[in-house]
C-alpha cells in the first residue's frame, strides 16, 4: 500500500469540491429584482418595461413623483398601472380615479413625471389556458380557479388573475349608458384589475376582464347586486389564468409543474407544453 502524496490529496479535494458544488447547487433559481427606478426623461424605457411586465403577468405598483400640469402642484402617489402607451401610461389611484401620466416634457397627459419607481410584487408567474365551461355561480367559478391552481401553494401564491369573458343571464335593457355606468362602478371599486368592460344584450350581460385578481373579482356579484343585477349561473370563455407567486419557482420546478398539469389537470387546463408559460 502506497502512502498518499500531495497528488492524492489534490484528487480527494477535487472529489470533495465537486460534491460540495453539487449539494450547494441551486438549480438555476434567479435572483428577483424587485424595484426599478426611472427618471421622467426615461418614460419610454419605463413604459416599455411596464408593457413587458404586463405581457408576462407580473403584478407591480408604480410610485410616481411629478406635477399636475393643470396647476403645477406636486403629485406623489402610488397606484396600479392599468394601461401603457408610447411614452405615457394610465395610473389607477387608490381612490379609484384614473390619471394619465407622461414624461417630464409631456403636455397631453395630466401629470408630468419626474420619477417613476416600479415595485414588483411577484416573484414568479405561471400562465395557463383554462377551458371554457358553465358554473352554477360566479363564486363557484372563482372557487374552481382557486382549487385548480392550489397545487402551486408550495410557492406561496400571492393571488390568481384571470383574463377572459364571463356571461350570465340578466334582466337588462341593452344600453351603452348602462354599460358605461357599470364599467365606471366596477373600475372605481376594483383595484388590481387591468381592465373590465361590460356589454349588455337582450338576454344578459358579458363582462370582459383583463388580469383581474380573484380577491378583487369576488366583490363583483355584490357590486352588480347594488345596481339590481343578480348574477346567476355563469358561462366563462377560454380564460388565461395567471398564478402569481411570492416564492421563486426554480428552473427545475418548471418541468414538475407542466407534468402535474398534464397528468392531473388536463381536463380543466390546456396541458400542451407550449400553452403553459412559467416566468421566473
Amino acid at each position: 500500500m502506497r502512502r498518499p502524496t500531495v497528488i492524492d490529496a489534490i484528487i480527494a479535494l477535487i472529489l470533495l469540491f465537486s460534491l460540495y458544488s453539487f449539494l450547494s447547487a441551486e438549480a438555476g433559481v434567479y435572483r428577483q429584482v424587485d424595484e426599478y427606478y426611472y427618471t421622467g426623461s426615461q418614460i419610454y424605457k419605463a413604459t416599455n418595461y411596464m408593457a413587458f411586465l404586463d405581457s408576462k403577468g407580473f403584478l407591480y405598483e408604480a410610485e410616481i413623483r411629478g406635477y399636475w400640469w393643470s396647476d403645477y402642484l406636486e403629485f406623489r402617489e402610488s397606484g396600479y398601472v392599468i394601461d401603457t402607451g408610447e411614452g405615457s401610461f394610465s395610473l389607477l389611484r387608490t381612490t379609484g380615479e384614473v390619471v394619465t401620466i407622461g414624461g417630464r416634457m409631456s403636455y397631453k397627459e395630466q401629470i408630468g413625471a419626474s420619477e417613476i419607481r416600479l415595485i414588483i410584487k411577484t416573484s414568479s408567474v405561471v400562465t395557463a389556458r383554462m377551458y371554457s365551461a358553465g358554473y352554477p355561480s360566479f363564486d363557484d367559478y372563482l372557487a374552481t380557479v382557486r382549487d385548480t391552481t392550489s397545487f402551486l401553494d408550495r410557492f406561496s401564491i400571492d393571488d390568481v388573475a384571470i383574463t377572459g369573458s364571463v356571461s350570465f343571464d340578466a334582466q337588462v335593457t341593452p344600453s351603452r349608458v348602462t354599460e358605461a355606468e357599470l364599467e365606471d362602478l366596477l373600475r372605481k371599486e376594483l383595484y388590481y384589475v387591468k381592465g373590465i368592460t361590460v356589454s349588455t344584450t337582450p338576454t344578459g350581460i358579458t363582462l370582459s376582464i383583463e388580469q383581474g385578481t380573484l380577491t378583487e373579482l369576488a366583490a363583483v356579484p355584490a357590486l352588480l347586486a347594488s345596481q339590481g343585477i343578480e348574477m346567476g349561473p355563469v358561462f366563462v370563455s377560454d380564460a388565461t389564468v395567471i398564478v402569481r407567486t411570492l416564492g421563486e419557482i426554480g428552473e427545475l420546478d418548471k418541468y414538475g409543474i407542466k407534468r402535474h398539469i398534464a397528468d392531473e389537470l388536463a381536463d380543466v387546463l390546456d396541458a400542451d407544453e407550449n400553452a403553459i408559460h412559467i416566468r421566473l
Binding site: M1, R2, T5, I11, L15, S18, F22
Partner: protein, 545 residues
C-alpha cells in the same frame, strides 16, 4: 539596471490611469524596488518554480492514484482482446495524411459554403476568401524559422519603446499602445531580454487590466504571457506533463465523468430524450473534460503501442474510451461534443496508426449519420418539422447571412473592438448591460434579434470585433498555430508527443466544428490559448534539449 525602466513603466501606467480617473496617482518607490533586486527576484522565482515542479513530479510518481490508474490501464492491455486492423493503416496512405492536414479546415469551410442555398454580398465573399487565404498563408509560414534577434535590434527596440511612451501626450494612449507592441515583440523574441520583457509586459498589462483599462491591458498581458511561455526554457513543466500523460488522461476522464453524473443528477432526466433546459452550464462545462481526456487517452495508448508494438490492445482501449465518451456526451444532448469526440478521436487514432483508411471513411459516414440522427431527435423534441437536408441548407444559409451582416458592420477595422469575445467571460459580459451575456447572443443583437443566440461562422465574431483586417490577422495566426503544433509532433518524444498529438487533434476538430458555431466558448478559447502557450514553450524546450 532593470529595476529603473520597469518601475518607471509601471509608474507611467499607474499615472495615466490616475489621470483618466481624475484620482491621485499611486506610485512605486524606485528605491524600494532596487532594494528587492528584480534580477535576483526573477532568478529566485525561476528556481522556486522548478523546485515545485520537481516536487510535484516525484509526488505524482509515488501517488496511489497514479499507481491505480496505471494498474487499470495495464490490466486493460493484458486482459482485453485486441481488435485487428481492417485494411491498411491510414497513416501509410495519403488519404489519412491529407485528412489530418491543417488545410482540411479550408476544405471543410468551402464545403460548408456549398451547403447554403443562396449567396452572400461581395464584401462578405472577399472577406471569406481573404480570411481563408490568410489561414493557408499561416500554415505555410509555420515552416519558417524565426531569425534570432541581433543585439543591435534590442537597443533599437528599446528606443522605440521609449519613443512610444514619450508619444503618449501627443498621440494618446491608444495609438501609443499600438506603436509600442512591435518593439516590445522584438524585445520578447530576443534571447537576452525575452523573459524580462515578457515579465514587464505582463506586469504592465496586469496593472492596466486590474485598473479597468482592458483595451490597453489586454495586448500587453497577451504578449507578456505568450512571451513568458516562449522564453521559459526549463524542461520541468513539459517533462512533468509528458511523464504523467497517461495519468492525466485518466484524471481528466474521471473528473469529466463525475461532473456528467452530477449534471444529470441535478436535472433528474436524460437531456437527449427530453430537453437540455435546466442543465447547469458549470457542470456541463466541467463534464467536457471527458472528451478531452478520452482523446488524450487514445493518444497515450497510441504512443505506448508505437513503443511496445501492442497496437491491437491499444485499439481496443481507444475504441472503449471513445465509445464511452461518445455515449455520455450524446446522452447529454450536445452534438458539438459528440462530433468533437469522434473527430478528435479519429485524428488521434490516424496519427498513431490505430485505424485504417477504410475505417476512417466508415467513421466519416457514421459521423454524418450520427449528426443526422441527432438533428432528427432535436427536431422531434423541439417540434420543428424540417427535414435533415433542408435543415442543413437553411441553417448554413442563415449562418452565412448573419456573417454577411457582421462583415458589413465590422468593415475593415471592426465595430465592437473585442467586446463580443469578451462576452465569453461571464463576469465581463455584464460590462455590456442589456446587450450580451454570451458572444452568440451579442451577435444576435447586432443581427436584429434579442434574447436568442445566433451562429455566424468562425469568422462572424472576428469580423464584428476586428473587421476584415482583424479576421485576416487572426486566421493567419490560427493557421500558423495549427501547423506549428502539427510540426511539433515530430520534434518531441514519449508522453510529450502524445500530449501534442491530442492537442492537435482537439484544435483541428474544434476548428472544423467551429466553422458553423464559431470559436467563442470560454472553454474552447481556454483550450486554444493553452495549446498556443504549450506549443510556444515546448518548441523552445525542444530546441534547447
Amino acid at each position: 539596471m532593470l529595476e529603473q525602466p520597469l518601475v518607471a513603466a509601471l509608474n507611467a501606467a499607474l499615472g495615466s490611469v490616475a489621470r483618466l480617473r481624475g484620482a491621485p496617482a499611486r506610485r512605486i518607490d524606485p528605491e524600494r524596488a532596487r532594494m528587492w533586486g528584480v534580477r535576483d527576484l526573477g532568478r529566485w522565482c525561476g528556481s522556486a518554480v522548478d523546485a515545485v515542479l520537481g516536487y510535484l513530479d516525484t509526488a505524482t510518481e509515488r501517488s496511489a492514484s497514479r499507481a491505480a490508474a496505471m494498474r487499470m490501464i495495464a490490466a486493460g492491455e493484458r486482459r482485453l482482446p485486441g481488435i485487428p486492423l481492417f485494411g491498411t493503416s491510414a497513416t501509410d496512405s495519403t488519404i489519412g495524411a491529407r485528412l489530418t492536414h491543417p488545410l482540411i479546415f479550408v476544405v471543410a469551410f468551402i464545403a460548408f459554403l456549398g451547403l447554403s442555398d443562396h449567396g452572400v454580398s461581395a464584401f462578405a465573399f472577399w472577406s471569406l476568401a481573404a480570411s481563408l487565404a490568410a489561414f493557408g498563408v499561416g500554415v505555410y509560414a509555420a515552416r519558417w524559422r524565426l531569425p534570432a534577434v541581433p543585439d543591435r535590434a534590442i537597443w533599437v527596440a528599446g528606443a522605440g519603446l521609449a519613443l512610444a511612451g514619450a508619444l503618449v501626450p501627443l498621440v494618446g494612449a491608444d495609438v501609443a499602445t499600438k506603436l509600442s507592441l512591435l518593439p516590445l515583440a522584438v524585445l520578447i523574441l530576443s534571447g537576452k531580454t525575452g523573459m524580462w520583457a515578457s515579465a514587464g509586459a505582463a506586469a504592465l498589462g496586469y496593472t492596466f487590466f486590474t485598473q479597468g483599462q482592458i483595451t490597453y491591458g489586454a495586448p500587453y498581458l497577451a504578449l507578456g504571457v505568450a512571451g513568458a511561455a516562449h522564453n521559459y526554457r526549463s524542461p520541468r513543466l513539459s517533462g512533468l506533463l509528458g511523464r504523467h500523460a497517461a495519468f492525466l488522461s485518466v484524471v481528466l476522464m474521471a473528473v469529466g465523468t463525475l461532473y456528467w453524473v452530477l449534471a444529470i443528477a441535478l436535472v433528474g432526466r436524460i437531456p437527449l430524450l427530453t430537453t437540455r433546459e435546466g442543465l447547469s452550464p458549470l457542470f456541463v462545462m466541467r463534464s467536457h473534460l471527458l472528451p478531452i481526456g478520452a482523446i488524450l487517452f487514445i493518444s497515450v495508448m497510441g504512443e505506448r503501442a508505437s513503443r511496445q508494438g501492442t497496437h491491437a490492445q491499444a485499439r481496443t482501449l481507444s475504441v472503449l474510451a471513445l465509445s464511452f465518451s461518445l455515449l455520455l456526451m450524446a446522452l447529454l444532448g450536445y452534438r458539438t461534443q459528440v462530433l468533437l469526440t469522434l473527430l478528435g478521436g479519429i485524428i488521434a487514432m490516424v496519427y498513431w496508426q490505430l485505424v485504417s483508411t477504410r475505417e476512417v471513411i466508415a467513421s466519416g459516414a457514421a459521423l454524418a449519420a450520427l449528426f443526422g440522427v441527432m438533428t432528427v431527435f432535436r427536431t422531434l423534441t423541439t417540434g420543428a418539422h424540417v427535414g435533415v437536408l433542408e435543415s442543413l441548407s437553411v441553417r448554413t444559409g442563415l449562418t452565412l447571412d448573419i456573417y454577411d451582416m457582421m462583415a458589413s458592420l465590422g468593415g475593415y477595422t471592426g465595430f465592437t473592438k473585442g467586446q463580443a469575445y469578451l462576452a465569453s467571460i461571464t463576469d465581463y459580459a455584464t460590462l455590456m448591460p442589456g446587450l450580451a451575456y454570451a458572444p452568440r447572443r451579442y451577435v444576435a443583437v447586432y443581427a436584429g434579434a434579442r434574447g436568442i443566440s445566433m451562429t455566424s461562422t468562425l469568422l462572424g465574431p472576428l469580423a464584428l470585433d476586428f473587421g476584415l483586417l482583424g479576421s485576416v490577422a487572426a486566421m493567419s495566426l490560427l493557421g500558423w498555430m495549427t501547423a506549428r503544433t502539427k510540426g511539433l509532433v515530430s520534434a518531441v518524444t514519449g508522453g510529450q508527443r502524445s500530449i501534442v498529438v491530442a492537442l492537435y487533434a482537439l484544435i483541428l476538430a474544434y476548428l472544423i466544428l467551429g466553422i458553423e458555431t464559431g470559436l467563442v466558448d470560454y472553454e474552447v478559447l481556454l483550450l486554444f490559448g493553452g495549446t498556443f502557450l504549450y506549443m510556444l514553450h515546448l518548441r523552445r524546450v525542444s530546441q534547447h534539449t
